[in-house]
């Protein structure tokens, strides 16, 4: 089954540095989404990139998508302590006409002050 798999599983950087997280998946997709989850909290939608898009920006976030390699990256520039969270990529699956997201294991990002 298709999956979004992130790497690294954990990333620890200093405040102000850039953080890059990668995601790979297995099958064709219509879109790929990135979510953030603070510990024990809900999922916050960050950005959606469609299969015909290669790059998308939102504030300090930059997402790329390479459908030939079935991979995506999330870059957070000028990181802040508040960016500490787990980040998940999720690919859509429109099998059967419905929509569901398939999540990866996530990357735990720690920003050290």
């Amino acid at each position: 089954s298709q999956q979004g798999e992130e790497d690294p599983q954990a990333l620890s950087i200093q405040e102000g540095e850039n953080a890059t997280m990668n995601c790979s998946y297995k099958t064709s997709i219509n879109n790929l989404q990135w979510y953030r989850q603070n510990s024990g909290r809900g999922l916050v939608h960050l950005i959606l990139i469609r299969s015909n898009e290669r790059e998308k920006h939102s504030g300090r976030l930059r997402v790329t998508l390479d459908t030939s390699k079935k991979s995506s990256s999330l870059l957070i520039t000028a990181s802040r302590a508040a960016d500490t969270a787990s980040y998940f990529c999720a690919t859509d699956d429109q099998a059967g006409g419905a929509q569901k997201l398939v999540f990866g294991q996530g990357t735990r990002l720690t920003i050290n002050p």
Binding site: N30, N31, Q33, Y35, G40, R41, G42, L43, V44, H45, L48, R50, F88, A90, D92, Q94, A95, G96, G97, A98, Q99, K100, L101, V102, F103, G104, Q105, G106
Partner: protein, 113 residues
């Protein structure tokens, strides 16, 4: 900003008991979902709901589970006879259309003892 509201935030129940998890999706959204996340594991799809019927369900969503939209605002997940392995965070989500981003609620942490 519109939110998906879930209640309760935390529920403890005895094995074998029935639980109902409640959600109020965003009012103009048309697609509704339940996902769950067992501690330390991936977010997993349970069920999608559109036009007052289930669009798709996963293998996890067996006969013990049911969903209902009893009125124009609430969306519920019922677990008929809880098992220890049902302990997880349950997330409700809604989306305006297929292929778009989801808005997730903050989740209900279900603990079965």
């Amino acid at each position: 900003e519109p939110e998906v509201t879930q209640t309760p935030s935390h529920q403890v129940t005895q094995m074998g008991q029935e639980v109902i998890l409640r959600c109020v999706p965003i009012s103009n959204h048309l697609y509704f979902y339940w996902y769950r996340q067992i501690l330390g594991q991936k977010v997993e799809f349970l069920v999608s709901f559109y036009n007052n019927e289930i669009s798709e369900k996963s293998e996890i969503f067996d006969d013990q589970f049911s969903v209902e939209r009893p009125d124009g605002s609430n969306f519920t997940l019922k677990i008929r006879s809880t098992k220890l392995e049902d302990s997880a965070m349950y997330f409700c989500a809604s989306s305006l259309d297929r292929g778009g981003g989801y808005t997730f609620g903050s989740g209900t942490r279900l603990t079965v003892v």
